[in-house]
């Protein structure tokens, strides 16, 4: 009996030590159910793909309802997942905030995450998250200013709000810090591929030789840039495969950096109430270079300087 007790005690001690050692590094995601509701396709090489990839990276196979440009459709999906008892329901679109205010109080046992936004509405079961996309935008603007030969740089934006505006402003400021003439044009739509394509054509007619853009409709602009030989900087996901010859680098979102924290909190019983931001500092934002693009070490050094400057606060992206 005594021998058995010693073995049990030893086993328990070992289990406690193992749990303590592993606690901070990895979250146990087995049996943790995540659902994502997002406006565009889950493989858009942009906004929606960034969150799906992040959840995948944590070893979770999420339930996904994508293509919900219509907010009412998204609201129905969010409510549906909450009713099904998912542990975390991610409403990945700033336009879903109004719906979440109505839905989240009905499901106090379910945790919701809303992005990109910086408001939890004072609700205990809502997290919000956003990207400091101006940071990576600034870094790529610095590189663009070094690469341009005509001195003219353009950015194709969707609608002047949220994450898109942050990125565009950061990119413009980075490019202007290098002395380039940088301008932005917002198409007025997140989904109008033809308008993005024509905007790129309009930039090409004005001697622009470096372009960037944000949101899922930029695939149209990348195609034009590829046709006429304009260099491209991507954001949200790595866009190299769209045009390997002209994509210089992409700012890639790694939401998993903050999702890991959120999941840990939910497992500890805290279902919301915090705002998270991915940055260059916390490595939620990463500049990924196109390895096949011949980018000089000088320019990479300038990019690294900008990254360090943003991290230590000596460079302001605004």
């Amino acid at each position: 009996m005594r021998k058995t007790f010693i073995w049990v005690a030893l086993f328990a001690a070992f289990a406690l030590i193992a749990a303590a050692c592993g606690g901070d590094d990895e979250v146990d995601v087995s049996d943790f159910r995540v659902a994502i509701v997002a406006p565009s396709a889950s493989n858009d090489l942009a906004f929606t793909q960034s969150i799906v990839d992040a959840v995948d990276a944590l070893g979770i196979d999420p339930a996904v309802t994508d293509g919900t440009f219509v907010v009412e459709d998204a609201a129905a999906a969010i409510r549906g997942y909450a009713e099904e008892g998912y542990d975390l329901v991610i409403a990945h679109g700033s336009q879903y905030g109004g719906s979440l205010v109505e839905i989240a109080p009905d499901f106090p046992e379910v945790s919701f995450a809303w992005g990109t936004a910086a408001d939890t509405f004072g609700l205990d079961n809502v997290y919000s998250y956003e990207a400091a996309s101006d940071e990576g935008g600034y870094v790529m603007g610095v590189m663009a200013a070094e690469l341009t030969e005509t001195g003219n740089i353009g950015v194709v934006g969707p609608i002047e709000v949220g994450d898109a505006k942050l990125y565009v402003d950061g990119f413009l400021n980075g490019a202007r810090s290098g002395g380039a003439n940088a301008t932005a044009a917002y198409t007025g739509s997140f989904s109008d591929v033809a308008a993005a394509s024509e905007t790129a054509q309009a930039f090409a007619s004005q001697d622009v030789d470096v372009l960037s853009g944000t949101a899922q409709m930029v695939v149209g602009a990348v195609g034009v840039a590829n046709d006429v030989g304009i260099l491209w900087f991507g954001t949200q996901a790595n866009q190299t495969e769209l045009a390997p010859d002209i994509v210089v680098a992409s700012q890639v979102y790694h939401w998993e950096v903050i999702l890991e924290d959120i999941i840990q909190n939910v497992q500890d019983g805290q279902l919301g109430g915090e705002v998270y931001v991915i940055t260059l500092e916390n490595e939620g934002l990463v500049i990924e270079y196109n390895e096949d693009f011949d980018l000089s070490d000088d320019i990479k050094d300038k990019a690294e300087e900008a990254i360090e400057g943003i991290k230590d606060g000596s460079i302001s992206t605004g």
């Binding site: 565009s40 396709a41 889950s42 493989n43 858009d44 090489l45 793909q49 293509g67 440009f69 353009g154 934006g157 609608i159 002047e160 301008t183 932005a184 044009a185 917002y186 198409t187 007025g188 739509s189 989904s191 109008d192 591929v193 033809a194 308008a195 394509s197 024509e198 905007t199 054509q201 309009a202 930039f203 090409a204 007619s205 004005q206 001697d207 899922q216 409709m217 695939v219 149209g220 990348v222 195609g223 590829n226 046709d227 495969e241 769209l242 045009a243």
Partner: protein
């Protein structure tokens, strides 16, 4: 503002306006055939989406834009038959059945894209055709004669449509069935056959319009048409059910769109005004539509199913 009046800007606006007009023009011409015979098909956008995906996928697999166009034609033809079955034979309420076709096209094109393709991948576009002797003319050459082959073909479809509608027996039957199906029927014209034909032509052209859109952009994306099919239907009214009027409407829409985008690039329209400016083409089209609507009447039997002896 002076930057807008440079050669580069003017050429870009006109060439861009033509590019933007072409998918609308093709889809509108197709819808005109149906409406002239009395059938409204609100499913144009859905058929465009299916044609766009089918065309894109065929090019992705084969590398041939022409095979993509053929697939777009085939898909449009099949969807035209489906639309005709619902609207003509089953006499379904045309607005509702059209919306059903649209929703099917929206969802199914996205589903197939995600299952068969996944991440957007670029495809070869239609080849450009610089028309010898004309493409070198300063200003005009770049504006009008350095486009992809399908753009010339689309504009060639205008006189062809005019000829079919105004000069052939088939066209006369279309007009008769659209204005007074009972009278046409009493004279031995098969109303069903004419309407099946026109709706199928409309579907085929919508499929072509979608394929042209995706292949000329060199990419497919969920909801790539961005409601262009509905604008095409509005342009049929704008053009007073006449191919020439439709061409003018499509060009107006495309040119205003391209002008607004160029003004944004030149910062004549500041970013704060971008969203409002993006609505300009639609607002101008609606205003013109109001003017046209007061001067022209739609075909008398538009949206009315035909039942012999009813």
């Amino acid at each position: 503002m002076s930057e807008l009046f440079t050669q580069a800007a003017i050429v870009a606006v006109v060439a861009g306006g033509i590019r933007l007009a072409v998918p609308l023009l093709v889809a509108s011409l197709g819808e005109t055939f149906g409406q002239r015979s009395g059938v409204l098909n609100l499913g144009v956008d859905g058929i465009m989406l299916l044609g766009a995906f089918g065309g894109y996928y065929a090019v992705l697999q084969s590398g041939s834009p022409w095979l993509g166009l053929l697939v777009g034609i085939g898909i449009g033809f099949i969807m035209g038959l489906v639309s005709a079955l619902m609207a003509v034979t089953l006499k379904a309420e045309q607005g509702i059945s059209g919306i059903g076709v649209y929703l099917f096209g929206l969802g199914f094109s996205d589903l197939l894209f995600q299952k068969w393709v996944g991440t957007p991948r670029p495809i070869p576009k239609f080849p450009k055709l610089d028309i010898p002797g004309l493409s070198d003319i300063p200003w005009l050459g770049e504006m009008f004669f350095q486009h992809s082959v399908v753009i010339y073909l689309a504009f060639a479809a205008i006189p062809l449509s005019m000829w079919i509608i105004n000069k052939t027996t088939f066209g006369m039957n279309i007009r008769a069935v659209g204005e007074n199906p009972e009278a046409a029927d009493s004279l031995g014209v098969s109303v069903s056959r004419v309407r099946w034909s026109t709706v199928t032509i409309g579907g085929t052209l919508a499929g072509i319009a979608g394929a042209i859109l995706a292949i000329d952009l060199g990419i497919f994306q969920q909801n790539i048409t961005n409601a262009q099919g509905f604008i095409a239907i509005a342009l049929v009214y704008f053009g007073a059910w006449r191919p020439l009027g439709i061409m003018l409407g499509a060009l107006l829409y495309g040119l205003v769109n391209a002008l607004v985008l160029q003004m944004k690039v030149l910062e004549i329209i500041p970013p704060d005004w971008s969203d409002i400016a993006a609505m300009t083409p639609a607002i101008i089209t609606i205003l013109a539509l109001v003017v046209v609507a007061t001067r022209f009447s739609p075909p008398s039997a538009l949206t009315k199913p035909f039942t012999r002896g009813a």
